[in-house]
Amino acid sequence: MSGRVLVGVKRVIDYAVKIRVKPDHTGVVTDGVKHSMNPFCEIAVEEAVKLKEKKLIKEVVAVSCGPQQVQETIRTALAMGADRGIHVEVSGKDYETLGPLQVSKILAALAKKEQADLIILGKQAIDDDCNQTGQMTAALLDWPQGTFASEVTLDADKLKVVREIDGGLETIKIKLPAVVTADLRLNTPRYATLPNIMKAKKKKIANVKPADLGVDVSSRLEVLKVDEPPQRQAGVKVETVDDLVGKLKEAGRI
């Protein structure tokens, strides 16, 4: 057991920003828009750092794929307590089409290279809402997975994961190495304050290209069009039940 945990972090448009679709409908406006770490990724980093503070694991490595700017996101992870970072350089057209399949291939290659025991990811990104990267990574590595984790307990080489599922909570026990994806209630992420950011400047971020890992980042998907959701029609108020029945009949509902 290397005691090494890989945490994937994604740079996304800040959750509080009002999203605008580009006039040519090819995507959303990202230029000059505030970006930050995906909230579920923050929870993933926090969980890894907590495990290290409990001395259950030895090293937390933060990984992000993208252009130069993702280094900010890696720095935030380092400020939260990660030991070092890996920046997988993907830019331009490749970055625009980068999706869960490509990222999971990259993470799988890195997990093997770094001999990681555990990969913790956010359950999904708030920009594409795919909820696929964790599952795909586990499949590529043939590792067990504990997704939608709201509680994680590590005991030697066994992981007890309490999962949030539609019916309630499911508790599973999986053997390391494994992939875990973080759900909202897993923990309360610490804020990366200025003193922590300053201290983190000493920590190293390695640069790697997908080709170095033997990963082909070409996408099999093509985005045809991006649109805003349809405008909600205003509701209509009625006075009596008879009016309601009348309106429903008009609309062909009954």
Binding site: A16, P39, L184, Y191, T193
Partner: protein, 85 residues
């Protein structure tokens, strides 16, 4: 004439300014009020009083961190989870 606590005060100001970037009402709004609050006490020289003010500043930092977390948590909860959760 530089008070030895000057460094602490400046550090506090920088930390608060950094936190202000995520303030819901905007960075400019936050910065204005932060500057005004610090300027109001610029003539305080008693180290005891300065320490108390710095402590209050640290408390505000904790409050802001809590505010930011709650806002984000509630937004995520609203977007991704059924009402009865």
């Amino acid at each position: 004439m530089s008070n030895p606590l000057r460094g602490d005060v400046i550090r506090l100001y920088k930390n608060l300014l950094y936190l202000g970037r995520d303030y819901p009402k905007g960075t400019a709004y936050f910065r204005e009020r932060l500057k005004a609050a610090f300027m109001k006490n610029k003539d305080v020289t008693d180290p005891e009083k300065i320490k108390k003010l710095v402590d209050r500043g640290e408390f505000v930092i904790k409050e802001l961190e809590a505010l930011y977390f709650l806002r984000k948590y509630r937004a995520m909860k609203k977007r991704y989870y059924e009402p009865e959760h």
